[in-house]
Symmetry: D2
Subunit: 387 residues, 4 copies
């Protein structure tokens, strides 16, 4: 019963938090998709609801009446198992269902599910609810980053909030942590929730290495810019160099040079770049180039996981040198949820840590985030390593 | 004074009508741009306002304070003379200014301008106001067609209105009107308003021709479909055939085949195709192919203008065989408004007539509408001619 | 019999001339397709041969054995009636059949056809042979322009010939010819060969106009460049301006600015631009912009045809303001050859005259050449008109 | 002196072998580039020559006269350090220099270098010659695969050779090799030549695994096709599935289904698929999907390297699950040759082994080949692993 209460409590809390994130939005902010990777907030609200409806209510609730049978077409993200769905590029054209309607849909599903759970919480269902909660927490983070992109690319540069501080400063002195060579255990071990890609526990051999206790700051990054880092192919992957040239990249995302000074769009609007804060909104290509320029490198995800207890992580996702690949004992979950992680394990880089907009209790030291190397709209930072 | 009153009345009436067209929209409907040619309704509202602000208030009102200096960047459509502007493809990403803000902007400009006109209506200003009114009427039509596109491409196929009837039936018996060869005068002649592309009056020689007194109906068009018209290259231009193949075109825009019956999305939602109504939402390529299939042809814009008094036009824009080119005495207006028409006189076809969503008193028999040959989101129909 | 001899003579002469044009090529020059509009010389050699094989030998010669049944797939250009064909973009990947093989194919068809014609020259066949000859003459011109493109875009800028002079100078003094208003007859009237698009004779009314007796020279065009013509949107169509910006256009095709002087790649290699020669290799967009800058305009094709007897045309194709459209009495030929002209009558501009690389006896004053407005690899020039 | 003789011998032998590979080509076969990844044979001939000229002759030979200063622009592949170069997509438009000229260029450089080496073979130069030889051997393999692509995509499907047998059959019985868990050493250890990406020796921990002693055969792969492997998203990465859908992939490259039987284009022309031969010309996406369908997986490059002594590899490059990443002690060579490997270490998969067209003495068990996951024109096969 306690577990029941807790999971229902978590569920309701999560649903609520999602809506609180959207509270500062105008109705129009909910609708648009300024680039393929950014989904409309309305879509996130509907999709996280569809997830619970599709994977729990429709499967387990005997008397459940679907809210609207057309919504599956609209709010399915990428589950081939779940039938046809709208083209990803068309998400930003959906003026209907309206924001109000989507909130009604949310309430409908939240209420039906809460009620249902009171009496029917089997282990299987609890497992699905837990996944659904964590799934929604992932979308909470995406809501933050997508909202930032929507507002930060508007010529009016509107604020999201007067108070949301995204810059945090690491005050400790910078130093190299030395980690001795040896066999280390990697992967999730407790009975707490984790995603399938963190399982199962396994061993890796690491050679001696050093890893910085701090992230690279804006001040350090500006040195790279000043030194012509964006104009010297030597620091870049061939594909990174093409990306720089084709997209006229010359600074992190959201940076503006105004009268020789660097400004950065933040949730609080346009602000001077805070020199002591960790640099963020850089692509893997930029992270790699920065490390090359410094004569160092990015850590692997294993080096990160082993050393993480010595640094205060969680304010910036950290690009690693590791590609997103299955662990030796990786097994896809069966059924549609098997599409959650495994099918993305190609052409992406692993990020470790968490960010200022990661939901509470969502990340952990074994968590494997992943993005394509050119993407910058997440809060992504740089930690260096070396032999 | 009477003229003053009338022009101010027209101005206020036009501003109001624009807003009435948007009345059935949800706030979200105002924002999106599902295809490059369709602008967000909010943008139309702002752009027509910017036009008056930019070309009248800022030029002639000595004490006018611009509503928001950033709006010029946002609401300029294509006037190179007026400085930088947002990429056309980014119009649908503008969640701000909000719908309310844009309405406030409208009110601000409408009120300032009405007041200003009371005392300052010179001939020059009256001319600009008149252009501005006709400009806004063009956008009223675009509002209708863009709204139809936004709703008609939504998987929920929502209605715009319970009552707006877009299908009109021509009840007369179909016959060929015979027009004798001779020299005819073409172009605008009265002192009423017209666009620069309708001037100046000039002569063309026409050989004997016949022109239908009626538009092609849906029933006639379905025959073309049934006869494999979309599968037989012989009826098509090479570029039309490529367009058909590359876009899987098999029927007019908004048509759906459901269980062997043809349905059409209309302002009133999805309805069975009305057989006796004129076919609409066809491209020039389709209009041409249909005419070829029938062994006839489309009329030139001159043949249309000469014969127009014998048919009841105005419910569908009619594709002509004429390319959009300057008349022999064409002169661009000087200044930024010279960009209104002339710079589009390449690669487009002339349409004549008007449509069910053309604003009252906006079109006339010398009016030259123009679109690229593949476009279908306007209410476009087919009239045949032959020798 | 005389006619027979003459047509066979013409046929053999034409086949030979085609091969003479290719004589200076290396074997490699025959193969490539550096841009979609430029076909490999080898392909021209095969395609003109296929034309005779397909439309005459296979249809009329009872014992004819096709040279190679796969060649139809390779050498059909755009005749949908003639079955599947290789993608246009793949023409430049065809290393086989080899150049030698294609010449053998030419000989095979030339010989079989010559022999066959000795005894079987009906009127129908004579008509087809005549079309085939004129078709091959069109490809002779394309061979010149395609070879120029292949060599002129090679970083080594190799010569085609030591002696082929493409620049011709019009020595007469420049003046405006005044043509009085009236009804004029347009179109082909003699019994000589012409293409279907030049038929049938018809009347147009022309208002008074003036037309220059000379083409615009390089010297005059350099003035336009110096005056910032390529940087001022006012002179350009909207689509022309986009074309300039997207392709970094700043001078005619084949022009190079070296140490502040203009050079031009010619058949004789890189040479200083000859100031008194007519400008060439300009697009319609550039021709139009130049005319705008001068405050004049391009003539229509009718104005050109009426005035042509007063100027010495034939060294440069001349862009007209006319779109390529059917004449009032236009009828497509029946059968596959109906695809020759009619299906291209959209989105193209008419050019009149002829060029230094047009085959002898190929053009005439009613000849209607046509290209898309952005194309420049033909020898295209500018003649001005005004009211 | 012996070393000198041997390296000069190797050099001359390598230069000769390259030319022997091209012997069966027609002159036209040397020129084209039917897809971006396939370079014209002529370009390979020139590029491998440029490599020796640029990195040895121009640097170390005091009296050397460059063959043609423009060739660096044409034959530089991707060395940013070496200045401007022709766009990769334009390689197939280079009709000049001619094939003969490129062979003259080869002779010139080969002769000057042989002569020079007689007296000046320092260790540094020997190192560069050795890299140049291995570089040319890599291009020998590319010559084979590029030639196959050029001929195999020609509608005439010409043979490269009457005798070159690309299918080899592994006769041993298929079985799972069991490899015990433990720490293994990876990387190149001898003093023989290797590329920088194989250095330096380091340790990895491997868990118990099983790896097949044989490659997957065509017969086994046909089972996958028959079972609908290309139609079931479950087996594919999301990006692999998009690739299948967007490119209509339904079988390995070069396969043709004719009357229900599978045929394969080979160097000897079109042949029935040899059932017992290893499948080849599959992408990583296909290799992965096949493994998924079988319920197994691909080995990592480390699992492969550890187990390789137990199987007879070298007839097909084998896709591994490993991404192409730097080894723990990886260091880029300094200078322009630092661009050889490191800058490609993103978004590519490692292949191990070698193929029927890999040059003699070129590959070794530590050799790391790499390609993007969608590419198929190399001889790529599938080996399975499992826990």
């Amino acid at each position: 019963m306690i577990i029941t209460n807790q999971i229902i409590g978590d569920f309701i809390q999560t649903r609520q938090t999602t809506e609180e994130i959207c509270a500062p939005l105008t109705q129009e902010d909910y609708v648009v998709q300024p680039t393929i990777d950014v989904s409309p907030p309305k879509w996130h609200l509907g999709h996280t609801t569809w997830f619970f409806e599709e994977f729990v209510l429709k499967k387990f609730h005997p008397d459940y009446t679907e809210y609207n049978p057309q919504f599956s077409y609209i709010f399915n993200s990428y589950y081939e198992s779940m039938g046809d769905r709208i083209l990803r590029t068309d998400r930003g054209n959906l003026t209907r269902p309206s924001v109000e309607e989507v909130y009604r849909y949310r309430d409908y599903v939240t209420n039906h599910l809460s009620e249902f759970l009171d009496d029917h919480l089997t282990d299987e269902i609890a497992g699905l609810i837990t996944i659904g909660i964590h799934h929604e927490k992932q979308h909470q983070e995406l809501l933050f980053t997508d909202i930032k992109y929507i507002l930060g690319n508007n010529p009016l540069l509107p604020k999201y909030s007067e108070t949301f501080e995204e810059n945090t400063i690491e005050k400790q002195k910078s130093k190299w942590l030395k980690i001795p060579e040896g066999i280390y255990e990697i992967g999730h071990v407790t009975t707490d929730f984790c995603f399938d890609n963190e399982l199962g526990k396994h061993k890796v051999f690491l050679h001696n290495y050093k890893i910085s206790n701090k992230l690279i700051t804006n001040e350090e990054y500006i040195e790279f810019i000043r030194d012509g880092g964006y104009n010297n192919f030597n620091f870049w992957h061939a594909e990174g160099w093409d990306w720089v040239k084709n997209n006229n990249i010359y600074a992190p995302l959201y940076w503006h040079e105004i009268n020789g000074e660097w400004y950065q769009y933040t949730f609080k609007g346009l602000k001077p770049v805070e020199l002591q804060a960790p640099v963020t909104h850089v692509s893997y290509y930029e992270a790699f180039a920065y490390a090359e320029w410094r004569g160092h490198r990015l850590p692997t995800e294993f080096e990160w996981e082993v050393a993480q207890e010595f640094f205060d992580w969680g304010k910036r996702w950290e690009w690693t040198e590791s590609s997103y690949l299955p662990y030796p004992y990786y097994k896809k979950i069966s059924g549609a949820l098997g599409e959650y992680n495994g099918k993305f394990m190609v052409n992406q880089k692993v990020l470790r840590g968490g960010s200022v907009v990661t939901s509470k209790n969502h990340t952990r030291y074994t968590y494997r985030n992943f993005f394509h190397p050119h993407l910058r709209w997440q809060f992504t930072g740089i930690r260096l390593a070396k032999r």
